[in-house]
């Protein structure tokens, strides 16, 4: 069997590479596990997503009912859907934590710039997965949150309205939006993610783990990737599975009420937690700033911020703390805005 594998897929070479790969041990080693955790949660999403595909029907007349069927009648359907929904949130959280840790440990230093760039793009893809998947159960909250979300690109001058129409498949959120969000969620994003993720993993493999400057040269301790680091990884993965199962059993993901495009928007509409800071930030902007619509400036700011995140390795000037200070300020602002968005809205302030 081994000889068969050796001749056909070069098994011995793979074993040799795996045995040779080592992971440095120092006081920041714990952060190395975030990447593996993100990858594991992504695979959980893929597996549960494929199972949900077997029952989900992407049309405005059947989507809600098909998810309802999964939750009520399909054996362990509740478990799969709840793990998919909770897992999505955990995945985005871990990817964000991974990015923050890499940022502050300056692991994007040469020659790992492209590892950072692919990682940043993977974060945007994760957010895209979250945004497109949120609409799929076709419930009221998702419907109106998507309405707000797909309004945002309309602020971009010249192409904004066209972009919004392309996203929605028409002038408003409808069954056409659901079809294309489904296509984006299960085909387009997974295809792009597979390519970028492959490149990211290849680059991690090529350059190995980055050692933070503050511990560089202080320790030469290391452990083997297989099996020592992998075993530690598995402890985390098993804990994540336990957490997801507990969340699914005690807090099955709510389905809500079927979307009614003709109903008025209910109070308390808001997007997923990772978009809340932008949602709240746009609310505070005045209608005009120096004659330019406030929301348009807000959208430009978020676009510029996304570009800046991708360009971090080139913005960071050695010896200066500019990027770190900016990152801390932005993270504090995002945290404050998220908390403000989560605070209950006073009744009198509701539209």
């Amino acid at each position: 069997m081994r000889a068969w594998a050796r001749d056909r897929i070069g098994w011995d070479d793979l074993v040799h590479i795996a045995a040779k790969k080592r992971v440095p041990v120092h006081r920041y080693t714990l952060f190395y596990y975030l990447g593996g955790m993100a990858l594991f949660l992504f695979l959980v999403q893929v597996a549960t997503g494929i199972l949900l595909l077997l029952y989900y029907r992407p049309s405005s007349s059947e989507a809600f009912e098909s998810v309802q069927y999964v939750m009520a009648d399909v054996p362990f359907g509740w478990l799969i859907r709840s793990i998919h929904s909770w897992g999505a949130n955990l995945f985005v959280g871990v990817v964000i934590a991974h990015l923050i840790s890499v940022l502050f440990l300056k692991a994007y230093r040469a020659p790992r710039e492209m590892t950072w760039v692919t990682g940043a793009v993977l974060l945007f893809l994760a957010l895209g997965f979250g945004f497109s998947g949120y609409l799929l159960p076709w419930n009221t909250l998702a419907f109106f949150a998507t309405k707000v979300g797909t309004d945002v690109p309309a602020q971009i001058p010249v192409i904004g309205h066209l972009l919004s129409r392309i996203l929605r498949g028409g002038s408003d959120v409808s069954g056409a939006t659901l079809s294309r969000f489904y296509g984006i969620h299960v085909a387009i994003l997974p295809a792009i993610t597979t390519l970028i993720l492959g490149a990211h993993l290849l680059l991690v493999q090529r350059h190995g783990m980055s050692i933070p400057r503050s511990v560089e040269g202080k320790s030469r301790r290391s452990i083997s990737f297989v099996p020592e680091f992998l075993m530690r990884d598995m402890v985390g993965w098993l804990a994540a599975v336990g957490l997801l199962a507990a969340l699914a059993a005690f807090f099955p993901w709510e389905l809500g009420v079927k979307a009614d495009p003709f109903a008025s928007a209910p109070a308390g509409i808001r997007p997923e937690w990772y978009f809340l800071w932008m949602f709240q930030g746009l609310k505070y902007l005045p209608s005009k700033i120096a004659g330019i619509p406030g929301e348009m400036l807000g959208v430009f700011f978020f676009g510029a911020l996304a570009a800046a995140v991708v360009a971090v390795p080139w913005l960071d000037r050695r010896g200066k703390q500019g990027v770190a200070v900016a990152a801390v300020l932005i993270l504090i602002a995002a945290a404050v805005l998220t908390v403000l968005a989560l605070l209950p809205v006073p009744t009198s302030a509701r539209p």
């Binding site: 290391s222 098993l238 507990a246 059993a249 099955p252």
Partner: protein, 424 residues
């Protein structure tokens, strides 16, 4: 008297002539408004200012259509010339006739609002208000009392005192006046009682404009209390099934013979509260015991119907509690909730069947409801069992996960032979 009659004839002639040729557009000069708005007299200036926003002004009608006179004249004595039909402020008894000149003219009204009725004046004459006015009682409502005199708005405009959301307060303006009502030997609490009714809650608190207000039962221009024999018909315009059932019931003929006012006998008129099973029991809220003595066939029939209704209500409550508990645990309960709605509908139907006053009819509806309510309760119990099954499964899985983690930790602590953890 002769002079007054002369003025009225003149006015009628002038108005009638004008009524045949309605204004095409507002006149360029309206002397009345020009003088009355600048005189700064609290008696005559505010009405002149209000008129600018009046539905009639917007249609091109001017002051002279109601007050007579000549708006083109420069001097007051020419403008206010009685020979030109000037009547000044119309007296209350003149007002219905003045309004009716146009509003009872189908040919004229068709040119402005073809869907508007033209029988308001004849209706008014049949009303309590109209009859009293004809008797010379001017302390009663006429057109301007409810619609306003100047600044009149269409009824569907929320600024109108008779718009659907304001008509009750407008009626209460007089009907809540204790002194005025005492003089007319009428109660002054209908609004107060109505505001405690289910109709008030539906209309005012739930903004359901289909719920009745004063004019829904009393009529508007022909406002009068429904006669004893017509109460069931009036309530039946909305409560069709109840009225039909009541007419088929053994109570229909005796009530007529005894002169009892149908629905109002058990439900009151203005203070119509939410009916309950207590209506069928003995005690303070009982509606049956005022006619049926304890132990009589009627009282026994009421007790049987009550027991059936209470039984179904109790089963629905039990099922609701189970379903709520399952929903709180995050279980999918939409199908069970659908059964609960069906059971509640059956209870409503059973309560409606009470108006037939036959226990067997109520029992059939209750039996249908009980079957669905028990199905819903079983659904709730199943989901709670499923919740427990999930939690047991979780604990077993967590145990296995913990065991595997422990094994991994032990293995990690043992270390891997040949590893260079401490460096080369």
């Amino acid at each position: 008297m002769r002079n007054r009659l002369f003025v009225l004839v003149l006015l009628a002639g002038a108005s009638s002539a004008r009524a045949q040729s309605p204004p095409k557009a507002p006149p360029a000069v309206n002397g009345c408004i020009e003088c009355h708005t600048v005189l700064d007299d609290p008696r005559i200036t505010p009405p002149a200012r209000l008129f600018a926003d009046d539905v009639h002004a917007k249609a091109g009608f001017t002051c002279v259509f109601c007050h007579g006179g000549d708006a083109r004249q420069e001097y007051q004595e020419d403008a206010h010339d009685p020979k030109k039909g000037f009547i000044g402020k119309p007296r209350p008894e003149q007002i219905p006739q003045i309004c009716g000149k146009c509003h009872s003219d189908p040919a004229l009204m068709k040119q402005y609002d073809p869907s508007q009725r033209v029988d308001q004046l004849s209706e008014y004459r049949t009303s309590g208000h109209g009859k009293a006015l004809a008797r010379g009682d001017i302390a009663v409502a006429q057109c301007a009392s409810c619609h306003g005199a100047h600044g009149i708005q269409p009824v569907k405009d929320s600024r109108s005192p008779v718009s659907p959301t304001r008509v009750a307060q407008t009626c209460n303006h007089c009907h809540g006046d204790a002194a005025l009502m005492a003089a007319h030997k009428l109660p002054s609490d209908p609004y107060e009682k109505w505001s405690r009714s289910v109709h008030y809650r539906a209309r005012v608190e739930k903004a359901d404009l289909s719920a009745p207000t004063c004019n829904s039962c009393h009529g508007n221009h022909g406002a009068a209390p429904p006669q004893v024999g017509s109460v069931t018909n009036v309530c039946g315009t909305c409560h069709v099934t109840f009225a039909d059932q009541f007419k088929l019931s053994p109570h229909w003929e005796p009530f007529k013979d005894m002169g009892l006012p149908g629905c109002v006998t058990c439900h009151e008129n203005h203070e119509i509260v939410k009916p309950s099973e207590a209506f069928l029991a003995e005690g303070a809220q009982s509606r049956c015991s005022s006619c049926h003595e304890a132990g009589s066939a009627g009282a026994r029939a009421a007790a049987v119907m009550r027991a059936d209704l209470v039984g179904l209500d109790g089963e629905i409550q039990r099922a609701s509690r189970l379903v709520d508990r399952a929903a709180e645990a995050g279980m999918e309960v939409s199908k069970v909730r659908f059964d609960l709605v069906s059971a509640s509908n059956a209870l409503t139907k059973a309560r409606s069947e009470v108006h037939l006053f036959r226990p067997s009819a109520v029992h059939v509806a209750v039996a249908e409801g009980l079957a669905v309510a028990r199905k819903a309760a079983a659904g709730g119990e199943d989901r709670l069992k499923e919740r427990d099954y999930r939690r047991r499964g979780l604990f077993v899985s967590l145990g296995l996960i913990l065991l595997t983690i422990t094994a991994l930790v032990v293995k990690i602590r043992e270390g891997v032979p040949g590893s260079r953890e401490n460096g080369e």
